[in-house]
Amino acid sequence: MGSYFSDDTVNKSQELTKKWEDEVAHSVVQSPDQKSRWSTVSDLEIKQLYTPEDIKDADFARDIGAPGEFPYLRGNQPTGYRGRYWTFRMFSGMGSAADTNARWHMLLREGQTGLSTAFDFPTLMGYDTDSPNARGECGRCGVAIDTLDDFLTLVDKIPLDKVTTSMTINPPASVLWAMYCAAADKKGVPLSKIGGTIQNDMLKEFIAQKTFMCPPEPSVRIISDTVEFGTKYVPKWNTISISGYHIREAGSTAVQELAFTLRDGIEYVEDAIRRKGMDVDSFAPRLSFFFNSHIDFFEEICKMRAARRIWAHVMKERFHAKNPRSWWLRFHTQTAGCSLTAQQPYNNVVRTAIEALAGVLGGTQSLHTNSLDEVLALPSEHSVQIALRTQQIIAEETGVANTIDPLAGSYFIESLTNKMEEEAWKYITKIDEMGGMIAAIDKGFPQLEIADAAYRFQKQIDHNEKVMVGVNKYVTSEEQPIPILQIDEKVEQEQLKRLADIKRRRDSRAVSTDLNDLKNACTTGKNVMPYCIKAVKDMATLQEICDVYREAFGEYRDPGLF
């Protein structure tokens, strides 16, 4: 029942393919294959030709189906992009809160439809600008936020009930989200009206991105606190964005990105159910995902399609979710930073356009396109405008949004989607057998799998087995430098002054009471969120709150696996 092709078609295909193979055997003498092995950028082997035979075991109704229907291979929404384009959500942040606020307003003027914050390293790691660990880092890789005062500057004149904001923040996610909630409160916007996403995905930090504070177990506990708080009080907020992006940037293959990300997702769902006793359908619809769109066009499209189908099965069969919204995998996409080259940087515009197109054909809900200069520095205003225009051209000029999941049914696309799903399940099962993701991380399993893949790829580049244009092929000797954005050293001085001023002005007794209350919540298992919100309103700093976590839960140190 429901097979993709009739036996007759498969037989006919076999016959024709056989004939074709014989012809190829003759012509191969004149033009032999350029390579002995053809593979994706992740090294997945690709056949010369795909035919109906490659998907003869697929069941149309079960495996492909219609958009908006289980298993959502063809998208969550029955109407695709015809109802609404994906959200144009450019990742930005640099210098001070005022600098970043200005960039946000510029992007909104240019047609961006959602906000996304990049924080600097001290903020990401839970340190204030005046920490000795923060020297030289202030405002360099994103915006510096120490207190609610900075946060209010960041969201100045941003209508928090209308624009959704994504915050790329992990160890201190509860603190930054508390600032968002407190800022909404100050602006008179109820928590039920604010929408956005905190990345809040710690497992991938241990696996790949390496911004961490506390060990994995208590880190996941704080995440479950945010999931519980969001479910009760901030219903439009995505409390976790389960992220493969950084796993891929750290050098994983597409299959590893798919498998480790979804297995991380399983871990969060299990923890919220076990620790908080929550009903899966009460919070699963607000889980979101984040994938990398790398340069290998079809591999990326198939990865995203496979992700939706795997997650639908996980939610329905493993967690017995009943609400169809719990079965959806909604995701943001960012084009691959690691695919960009410092050499001939204008080529990056082309790479980004192709990667963005893959994200769209993969059915992303939200997209960030990298700027051509991001391999060298934070993007300039001019380069970020080109990157945003890239999305707008794809949406409004190319016609790819005219129909839903236009590549479905292709022998190659469906076969590669199946292959990626199959390979991802192998990893998921293996991690299950290890006792889950935290146990796997303790063993260094995902870390070393990624290190292997990254090293293999670098060797392929060094030996010209894979091509990076401008790096190991078509190299030019004379290159014109491009203008890049520099962060003034004054940013750090001014931030230090503002922080000192806040510390002088605030009621320090209230702050120490708040921090004490938070510490008690940590040790007694109470939800930390209300205590965080109270503390940030009294101008406790980011680091002061994070120090409470460090004290209560201990600090994690990079084991330095390679």
């Binding site: 390293f121 890789c141 390496k210 520095a377 990254a454 670098q458 790096v471 390679f562």
Partner: protein
């Protein structure tokens, strides 16, 4: 007497967690026959200098992609000097704009490798320029 094997420390100063390059290099050095120590992420210049002296390394390779190299790299060289270990060669890499190179060379960084540098080019540089410490 067997010749002492050259010891290399790969270090990640500052708060930056982009360790892909550092880990690839650590493997490449190991495969090339060097003894390799990798610090892991989030090391202060003080921790790096102390570990380099303690481990008696011949070379420290610093990797930073956060833009804080201007402070962090020279600080490591300065601290090594304070510890009487100025003969430890220090090289650096990561996202480092061309215009910052001279300042880093002046501060005592011996070589800088940025995106696109091949593993072989880095290994060649070490073969041609690294003198084991006495």
């Amino acid at each position: 007497m067997a010749e002492r094997r050259i010891r290399i420390m790969v270090a990640k100063p500052g708060l930056d967690g982009h360790d892909r390059g550092a880990r690839i290099l650590a493997r490449a050095f190991r495969d090339a026959g060097y003894e390799v120590i990798y610090t892991g992420c989030h090391q202060t210049p003080e921790q790096i200098a102390a570990a380099a002296v303690q481990e008696d390394v011949d070379l420290v390779g610093l990797s930073c992609l956060s833009g804080a190299h201007g402070y962090l790299f020279p600080r490591v060289v300065e601290l090594l000097k304070e510890k009487g270990a100025e003969d430890i060669t220090v090289i650096g890499g990561g996202i480092i704009p061309d215009q910052d190179f001279q300042k880093l060379y002046d501060a005592g960084i011996k070589a800088i490798f940025t995106p696109g540098a091949t593993l072989d080019s880095i290994l060649d540089w070490i073969k041609n320029n690294l003198k084991p410490r006495e």
